[in-house]
Assembly symmetry: C2
Homo-oligomer: 189 residues x 2
Amino acid sequence: MVRERISRRQRLIEVGADLFCDQSYEEVAIDDIASSAGISKGLLYYYFPTKHDFYIAIVEYAAAQLLAATEADATLEPMERLRTSLEAYYAYVERHAKAYVSLLRGGVGVDEQVAAIIDMVRQTYIQGILQSFAQETQASALSAIAVRGWVGFVEATSIAWLEQRSISRQALCDLAMTAFTLVVPHDQS
Amino acid sequence: MVRERISRRQRLIEVGADLFCDQSYEEVAIDDIASSAGISKGLLYYYFPTKHDFYIAIVEYAAAQLLAATEADATLEPMERLRTSLEAYYAYVERHAKAYVSLLRGGVGVDEQVAAIIDMVRQTYIQGILQSFAQETQASALSAIAVRGWVGFVEATSIAWLEQRSISRQALCDLAMTAFTLVVPHDQS
């Protein structure tokens, strides 16, 4: 019984994720979600009392999905691991372009709760990078700020790239890797 | 008559800017604004029908103030001009730390309209930098994205710095100048 409830909730989130991926928060109607999932509006409200509750659950799901998609093989060399994660990151945001830009630019529906989820993802990346490059960064305050800045760089260039598509994904990835070597000093071999 | 209305509106914005600078959007009460400005609540509503209208006017005012504060002498060398602007930027955000972090992190009150104002400021900086370094960047798509990323780097490091104060403003400025070598290679001396 409990398992069934969990899986139906999960299925609703997946249906919702598809809808919010192609449409803005305002455009998505509760009626559409219920009919796409083949359930009544009442049942949808049983799982998610408000549209915003539903949205938060979807953003949490997307955050977990993004982190899983960008987790690189821990046996790789730090630099190679970073590049692998970065390539996966750009591939993910390209597949979810509309939702990514709207979330990161702070559109409708983006409130403190959503900002906290976005920040959790950032912190996960920052801690992972600092751990991966522990020898080079020596846990210095400057490195921690530089890595935070680099994540901001990756987000800002992702948005610009998704909006304009003026350079290739490969060129974007190379640019971010160059930026990383500038702000996080390390062995260039 | 018209002039008096404009100056009273302006005075209300200045009073509001002080209040929103130290308190979050949710904490600021319309009653406080009216009493700080020495006017009735009714008159305040005459100028700004909702708290959000008032907030938008204040964010617009702050954006104009920031742009004015960071406008460097056009006769300076491009790199010197960038550093001068950057130093003024950090000094400004340090003076308005709470409001800056809350605006950029997408807290309460930050909606499409606020996001559009933040984006206008960003675009002004990006265009100014691309113009200033026109010779080096050759109006390339890659440069435009790199500059957008650099602005994201500056914003992200500003937030981290204001939250942790773990490095000096000077070290922060040096870090951002180093990151800028991604856009335009320059002597680090």
